[in-house]
């Protein structure tokens, strides 16, 4: 298999405009004949479904939630980047491009990142026109703040709920198109499998989560906008329903899965507090604009109240280690620094797994009112969960799994190696390399959905005769049979252990061996244990009820079954990549000061895995990464 990235020729800054010029057009009358399936209704999915419908395509959109407005994009708090340079602080498309490539530790495709930076400015225009209530200055212009990994202020925000506001913008556009008849919306419907007919992706198998009905849907192309796989760790900041099923099933049908080991650990989450815990809650990175991160210098001070520890005995470790970026050092670096402090026994709070995020200086400087205006909802949320007020004492935070940079491999057109399968947003691998900068996920989801796919999808569709394959094709019959078979298999194990108990066991193992720090021995152990847990799952899981009605336990069981398979690929990739880069930190590969040691000579490539039929023997394909504009350097934020 040859992975052809289809990167357009020409200078970096002209590639996207040239590609738009060279992309195929379908005339309005013919567009109506093509149908497109969009799975997922988050920023990428809703934006794509709405925009493609506006162009005239017939769109079917699916989400497992009760409304498309609830997709997990909604939970993003801090903001969205765009190279508007409204602050006159020297920002530009090139600088956003540069920051993103560097932030990704030189493991992203340059051409994709440049396109992302280019369309970032259009996204803001689009969202403002939809009525997204971004923060404003008194003069009526848009306000900005800064985020990690950048020395300019380019982040647009809507209080602490930028994700919800952008998603509601996309959802309103989607609703407009549903009303017009361009989009057929299927809520509470989960994708169970992908259908590939004669080498072309032509549809999906779904289960209606209310009636239990398993159905086939055919179209001329399929877009997966199904988010990331962070819930493989069980505890993460992802919503409970986030899952790998859509992308994993596509992988099993032939799509290569790229860079699964690039997982992002977010530095500012509320620490774990008990084994009943179901998820972790993020405190936006924007808090690091005004909060200072510290731990006691001496381990014996950890049991004291923060207020009893004098200034001289505090270690503001991010400011100390990374003076030029300070508390706004990128996520991977900040997370590891916090872990190191806790490993040294200087962590605070129950279990010693926490560091302080302290606002006392900002409150003194600006007043409590100003801080409340900036972060009020986040402080309230913190208080509800922990019972503590961050106005009176510092927050306690600890890193948690938050985002996954890896995903299905796509070319410049966002098409997988599997013909006719397009993958957008967090579900693909393309733009963030080994680490994503804050406020860039919203940017990528919307860039893919509003501005990239509406242009590039035609390049595939022109090669297809509209409606050529229907659900009568034998591939649909086979996929339906497979999906029903799996449901029956899950229901008929009738064992003793609950789905959650398996998920928790798997997640703890993966977090322990393939979390913030990874090493050969640990990964090998994980690779031994995962198949054992998986085997026990299929012998001893209990799924109550039947498949013919609403059955949340059955939904969870199907998702956990796929995580059980995916986890193995994740650990295998982490073992294979003998270097440290971004969110992938191999303890064997570090500089004496503990910084990540990349190996450009041997690992400057995308790892794309093909399913071989044997879970323990995926076939590795490599896409070499070349850097024309940004020179490969050791990533330093000192």
């Amino acid at each position: 298999m040859k992975l052809d990235s289809k990167i357009p020729s020409g200078p970096m800054a002209e590639k996207w405009s040239r590609h738009k010029q060279d992309s195929k057009l379908i005339n309005p009358k013919n567009k109506r004949k093509y149908s497109i399936i969009v799975v997922g209704s988050g920023l990428a999915g809703a934006a794509a479904a709405a925009s493609l419908s506006e162009l005239g395509y017939k769109v079917k959109c699916f989400c497992f939630q009760d409304s498309p407005r609830r997709a997990h994009s909604i939970a993003a708090q801090g903001g969205i980047n765009a190279a508007k340079n409204y602050q006159n602080d020297g920002d530009s498309v090139h600088r956003l491009f540069y920051d993103t490539v560097k932030g990704g530790d030189f493991r992203a495709r340059e051409a994709n990142v440049h396109r992302l930076a280019e369309v970032s400015v259009n996204i803001i225009d689009q969202c403002v026109a939809q009525g997204v209530p971004f923060a404003r200055e008194y003069g009526g212009g848009l306000a900005n703040r800064s985020f990690g990994g950048a020395q300019v202020s380019r982040t647009f925000y809507a209080r602490g709920q930028t994700g919800q506001q952008l998603l509601l913008g996309a959802y309103s556009a989607l609703s407009k198109e549903i009303a017009r008849g361009g989009v057929e919306m299927h809520t509470r419907t989960e994708m169970l499998d992908l259908v590939v007919a004669d080498g072309e992706t032509k549809g999906i198998i779904t289960r209606n989560l209310v009636t239990g009905k398993v159905e086939a849907h055919a179209a001329d192309t399929v877009l997966l906008c199904t988010g990331g796989y962070g819930n493989v760790f069980f505890l993460s900041t992802n919503a409970m329903g986030c899952n790998v099923t859509a992308t994993w099933r596509a992988h099993r049908r032939g799509a290569t899965f790229a860079n699964p080991c690039y997982t992002q650990i977010h530095p500012t989450c509320i620490p774990v507090s008990g084994d009943y815990q179901s998820k972790l809650t993020l405190m936006s990175e924007s808090l690091r604009n005004d909060g200072r991160v510290w731990v006691p210098k001496k381990a014996e001070d950890c049991g004291k109240l923060a207020s009893q520890i004098p200034e001289a005995d505090r270690d503001y470790f991010l400011e100390r280690k990374y003076p030029s970026f300070g508390n706004l050092a990128p996520r991977d670096i900040s997370s590891r620094a916090a872990k190191e402090c806790c490993d040294e026994g200087r962590g605070v709070g129950p279990g010693g797994r926490g560091v302080y995020l302290d606002f006392s200086e900002a409150i003194n400087e600006f007043s409590e009112k100003v801080i409340k205006e900036r972060y009020g909802n986040l402080f309230d949320m913190y208080e509800r969960i922990t019972g503590e007020s961050a106005y009176k004492q510092p927050m306690r935070i600890y890193p948690a799994v938050h985002y996954t940079m890896g995903g299905l491999w796509v070319d410049y057109n966002l098409m997988s190696n599997l013909s006719g399968l397009h993958v957008l947003g967090e579900a693909n691998f393309s733009d963030h390399g080994a680490n994503r900068l804050g406020a860039s996920a919203l940017m990528q989801g919307l860039a893919d959905g509003y501005f990239v796919i509406p242009t590039t999808v035609a390049n595939y569709l022109v090669t297809q005769k509209p409606g050529a394959v229907t659900t009568e094709h034998p591939a649909f019959k086979q996929a339906l049979e497979d999906a029903n078979g799996r449901i029956n298999q899950l229901l008929n194990v009738k064992g003793k252990r609950t789905v959650d108990s398996f998920h928790r066991e798997l997640g703890l193992l993966v977090w322990d061996k393939c979390g913030m720090g990874r090493n050969r021995a640990g990964l090998e152990e994980a690779l031994r244990r995962i198949p054992e847990i998986r085997a026990e799952f299929w012998e001893n899981v209990v799924v109550p009820g039947s498949g013919a009605v609403a059955n949340p336990e059955l939904e969870k069981a199907g998702r956990v079954a796929d995580f059980m398979e995916f986890a193995e690929l994740l650990c295998r990739d982490a073992l294979d990549r003998e270097e440290s880069c971004g969110g992938h930190f191999r303890e064997e590969h570090q500089f004496p000061d503990g910084e990540a040691k990349r190996d450009d000579e041997n690992f400057c490539y995308v790892s794309a895995y093909e399913y071989s039929g044997d879970l323990s023997k995926p076939i590795l394909h490599k896409e070499a990464l070349t850097f024309e504009e940004v020179h490969l350097t050791v990533r330093s934020y000192k």
């Binding site: 506006e54 939630q65 009760d66 225009d125 026109a129 404003r136 200055e137 409970m240 815990q277 336990e553």
Partner: protein, 262 residues
């Protein structure tokens, strides 16, 4: 961390069949757990005992997706002000408490199973007009539309609505006025939404009525139950916008301006 021993009375229902309360004992619940984590623990125990777990809606568990619902001790999202069920923690309860757990009750929100209800009526109201008709790619430069900070902040106050339906569940008339007024109000406040203001207002209110939501009688339970503390002042604004749009419709102002009949 303390452990609580609780008695639950949980609504059980399958589709359109009549429902009933089931007594479920919930001993040894950590007070740090969230309400939904308490339900997770209860469900684990039910499954291990070979019983049917309680179905409930939930997703983000951080108070923003609006998927969780539940009426707890008669209050939508429970007793804590400005808080969704998923953000409600068990430290707000005492050991020995009896807790009543019901779905959001409203004619326009039919029960799907146990505590899950169908809130698609909200989606249909947005579909009727809760948007600005702007095509992708057709937007002007963002800063060409100046929006004063006060106006932007007001629009954001309305936009904070998470579409959970607590306003409906808490209202004795099951009115959706707080929801509709917040959604219409956000766009009607901003300059971007002005062109379609009248059309939007009429269409959304009519869809609301068609869905079977009740009328507002100014009891303001909705504001008290709203996890995002949306103000009932938005209802007053919607009433004004609706009155203006209705009058214009009757005298035909909008039609003349849009050049109907050309």
């Amino acid at each position: 961390m303390a452990l609580l021993n609780l008695h639950l009375k949980v609504w059980r229902q399958t589709g359109t069949q009549p429902g009933h309360f089931q007594d479920i004992e919930a001993p040894e619940i950590p007070d740090h757990a969230s309400f939904l984590e308490m339900m997770d623990i209860v469900n684990e125990r039910l499954i291990r005992a070979g019983q049917d777990p309680v179905a409930f809606d939930h997703d983000c568990r951080e108070g923003i997706c609006g998927m969780c619902s539940m009426t707890i001790n008669g209050m939508a999202h429970g007793p804590e002000r400005g808080t969704t069920t998923c953000q409600l923690h068990m430290r707000k309860f005492r050991t020995g408490d009896t807790i009543w757990v019901e779905p959001f009750r409203a004619r326009a929100f039919p029960v799907v199973k146990d505590l899950m209800v169908d809130r698609s009526a909200f989606d249909r109201i947005i579909k009727a007009g809760g948007y600005v008709s702007v095509r992708t790619g057709a937007a002007p430069e963002a800063n060409e539309i100046p929006v004063g900070k006060e106006i932007a902040d007001a629009a954001m106050d309305a936009a904070a609505c998470i579409g959970c339906g607590a306003c409906v569940a808490s209202c004795k008339n099951a009115s959706a006025m707080l929801y509709v007024s917040a959604k219409a109000g956000q766009l009607n406040t901003l300059p971007q939404g002005h062109a379609e203001k009248d059309r939007r207002t009429l269409a959304m209110v009519r869809q609301m009525d068609a869905e079977g939501f009740g009328n507002c009688t100014n009891q303001y339970e909705c504001e008290a139950a709203c996890p995002k503390e949306i103000s009932v002042r938005w209802i007053a604004k919607l009433n004004r916008d609706y009155a203006v749009a209705s009058v214009k419709e009757v005298v035909g102002i909008g039609r003349q301006q849009s050049g109907d009949g050309d």
